[in-house]
């Protein structure tokens, strides 16, 4: 097999995985953009979403599409509940307090999953087409390929929604200037809720895709760690940044993994993180305003 083909295959696999990073990154960015909350529980929200899907599809034996729909709705409700009961009372507190609350939230979600579903690792039912994809001669794992397509479609939808939908505009307005948003009649608390609902739905979707590829366990939240790199590189409040950051990190990890060895994957990504932070502390596409935590 030629080296070029290998490079193409590795790059495709990397971009595919990057799509999943991007989708999770979007979930993070939506929440941060609207509410300025650095949500470290993003990985655990993703995990919880995957378990919701597992619960509906395996536990209650519902058809896959119903299970996906219910899981997304469940994820949204979870987001609303978290925002209303945990995050809103923290309004006005220092950023570091809210940040710590989200860490606690992550632990609670892990505990909940272990209590409800036990800590055993599990596999999700197969619901994506299983025939391998060949682009030219290059092989692409079907799950990664379809996962990428779904992620791309969702992110495109997000970009459009923020551009044209009233709710999206309200969210951007709130993100830009809370006081001004209040004064033009935008219901800011509702926007906060909306951001959490949307963020959690996106995280649930990402969780189902990630779980379909790698299986689920109560520790799959570590996926959030790579996503944190993605959003910091892309800029905490930029959806486009999350998208490009995701693809970049996915590609970089794949190349580092195949040419340097798996032990260099994290080294390379975090090396990039440090480099970017030194040159552009607000990320590639973030607003030039530095939040100190």
């Amino acid at each position: 097999m030629s080296d070029l083909l290998f490079l193409v295959e590795v790059s495709l696999a990397g971009l595919g995985a990057g799509g999943l990073y991007a989708l999770t990154g979007v979930a993070f960015v939506v929440i941060y953009k609207a509410t300025r909350v650095v949500n470290l529980a993003i990985g655990e929200l993703l995990m919880f979403g995957a378990y919701l899907f597992f619960g509906f599809s395996v536990g209650l034996a519902l058809p896959t599409w119903q299970a996906i729909l219910l899981a997304l709705v469940g994820g949204g409700i979870l987001g609303a509940v978290i925002e209303r009961s945990v995050i809103r009372p923290m309004l006005g507190e220092s950023a570091i307090s809210v940040f710590m609350v989200t860490i606690g939230l992550g632990s609670i979600l892990v505990g909940l999953v272990e209590v409800i579903w036990s800590p055993d690792p599990r596999r999700l039912p197969e619901f994506m087409p299983n025939a391998p994809i060949f682009i030219g001669d290059a092989y692409l794992s079907p799950k990664v390929g379809y996962g990428f397509l779904v992620a791309a479609a969702v992110i495109a939808a997000f970009l459009l929604v923020f551009r044209f939908w009233r709710g999206g505009v309200a969210l951007r307005a709130t993100a830009t200037d809370q006081a001004a948003a209040y004064s033009v009649g935008i219901n800011v608390p509702a926007v906060f809720s909306l951001a959490w609902v949307v963020g959690c739905v996106a995280a649930t979707g990402a969780g189902i895709l990630v779980g379909a590829i790698g299986g689920i366990s109560s520790t799959m939240g570590v996926f959030g760690l790579s996503v944190l790199v993605v959003v910091i590189v892309g800029g905490l409040d930029s959806i486009l940044g999350a998208l490009l950051g995701g693809l970049l990190i996915g590609l970089l990890e794949a190349l580092a993994g195949s040419y340097l060895g798996g032990e260099y994957k994290l080294l390379v990504t975090f090396g990039l993180l440090v480099a970017i932070l030194m040159v552009r502390p607000y990320g590639l596409f973030g607003t030039t305003e530095i939040e100190r935590l």
Partner: protein, 389 residues
């Protein structure tokens, strides 16, 4: 009533005296097994089984009257599979219960606590780790493992490969953890000495989800056998699925912690033919030479994991060492208990190990290769019991 400083002081002293005078939780001649058990966290699936296994064997011994009338007491703390929590549990249990034996939950803990074990001198320890490093009686005099170390597990697999396909190409896939790296170097050397070619060694970062790039690398190397190590389940299923899609001919193998029946069955269709090494018989093995399994099935009619067997066998070896020391009138301390343990020769574990065992050093280097039969939903033995040394 006016409480003066003096009465407060008096009350406090009285309370303190009451605490000191409180009867100890352990009857003087109980033999105590302490445990840092991961009942929660990433290793909980194993911890729950280990806990049940130790508990069941202790119950069997106590129901039969204990050791010369001395009861066995098993006390444990949950650690969440974190070394600091394990150490805290150890400190707490050693100060409160004075254990004679201890079950540790990880390689990290076993290494961390070793100096303390040597200083304490009263405890013999075993645990969930089969790390090759711990298999050194000079460095770890008060520890042992109830099975082969990871290198010996690879030894069993590589010897099997050499027998079935001499000169085969082998690839190792391991996680980038202490657990994952453990057997790789010595096993690469062993493979070479057996005339096998190690064509690729792939490392995956812990928690990595997508393994597409790694599978691509594996396809390039085109091995006849691929051995996974350092995983429980993920990413093994995805690895095998993608490899099958690319029409790779490699057969896939695992080591102890990825060989539990319930884990292998989770592989689904792609798990057909998955092989691996196991030092114990599986729960459903009805071989007449394994009466202990019949007893376990009687106590627990539902499937018990290989982690359960590991806890059970460990407790059995603890008790056997204690029994030998008590019978020969030796004091129960770390040195004597280890001596009594090493005195175990051709010992029948009720068939849990397929052959009589001898604990000469810190490990019991024996195992058998099993293959998954997905239609029958069982693990089928495909080799004899192989000694790796």
């Amino acid at each position: 009533m006016l409480v003066t400083r003096r009465t407060m002081l008096g009350l406090a002293m009285a309370a303190g005296a009451a605490m000191v005078a409180a009867p100890p939780a352990v009857a003087a001649d109980d033999i105590v097994i302490g445990g840092s058990i991961p009942m929660t966290g990433v290793f909980a699936f194993a911890g729950v089984g280990i806990h049940a296994g130790i508990g069941d064997y202790v119950k069997i011994v106590n129901d039969a009257g204990g050791i010369k009338g001395r009861k066995i007491k098993y006390v444990y703390e949950d650690t969440g599979y974190k070394v600091d929590a394990s150490v805290a549990a150890f400190q707490k249990l050693t100060s409160q219960e004075k254990p004679n034996f201890y079950y540790g939950d990880s390689t990290g803990f076993s290494k961390t606590i070793n100096p303390e074990l040597e200083r304490n001198g009263n405890i013999l320890m075993a645990g969930a780790s089969f790390a090759s490093e711990l298999n050194d009686p000079q460095k770890y005099p008060y520890q042992f493992m109830a099975g082969p170390d990871y290198t010996a597990m690879f030894g069993v697999l590589l010897r099997y490969i050499q027998k079935t396909q001499p000169g085969a190409k082998v690839a190792f896939v391991h996680s980038d953890t202490e657990f994952g790296r453990d057997p790789i170097k010595p096993s690469t050397a062993l493979a070479a000495s057996l005339g096998l070619k190690v064509v690729e060694t792939i490392v995956t970062p812990p928690g990595s989800v997508d393994v597409s790039t790694e599978v691509l690398k594996l396809r390039r190397a085109d091995p006849d056998f691929t051995i996974f190590h350092g995983y429980v389940l993920a990413p093994i299923p995805e690895f095998i699925t993608q490899a099958r899609q690319m029409n790779m001919k490699s057969r896939f193998m695992g080591t102890f912690w990825s060989m539990d029946h319930s884990m292998v069955m989770k592989l689904g269709d792609v798990g057909e033919g998955f092989m691996g090494v196991m030092p114990y018989r599986y729960y459903y093995d009805t071989d007449p030479k394994a009466p202990m399994l019949a007893k376990i099935r009687q106590m627990r009619p539902e499937y018990q994991s290989t982690a359960y067997m590991q806890g059970f066998v460990t407790a059995m070896l603890f008790v056997e060492a204690a029994k030998r020391c008590v019978e020969s009138g030796k004091e129960l301390n770390g040195k004597n208990l280890k001596g009594c343990l090493n005195g175990i020769k051709d010992f029948d574990t009720g068939g849990l190990f397929g052959v009589p065992i001898t604990v000469s050093g810190n490990s019991i280097p024996v195992g058998r290769v099993y293959r998954a039969d997905m239609k029958a939903k069982t693990m089928v033995p495909v080799s004899d019991w192989i000694k790796a040394e």
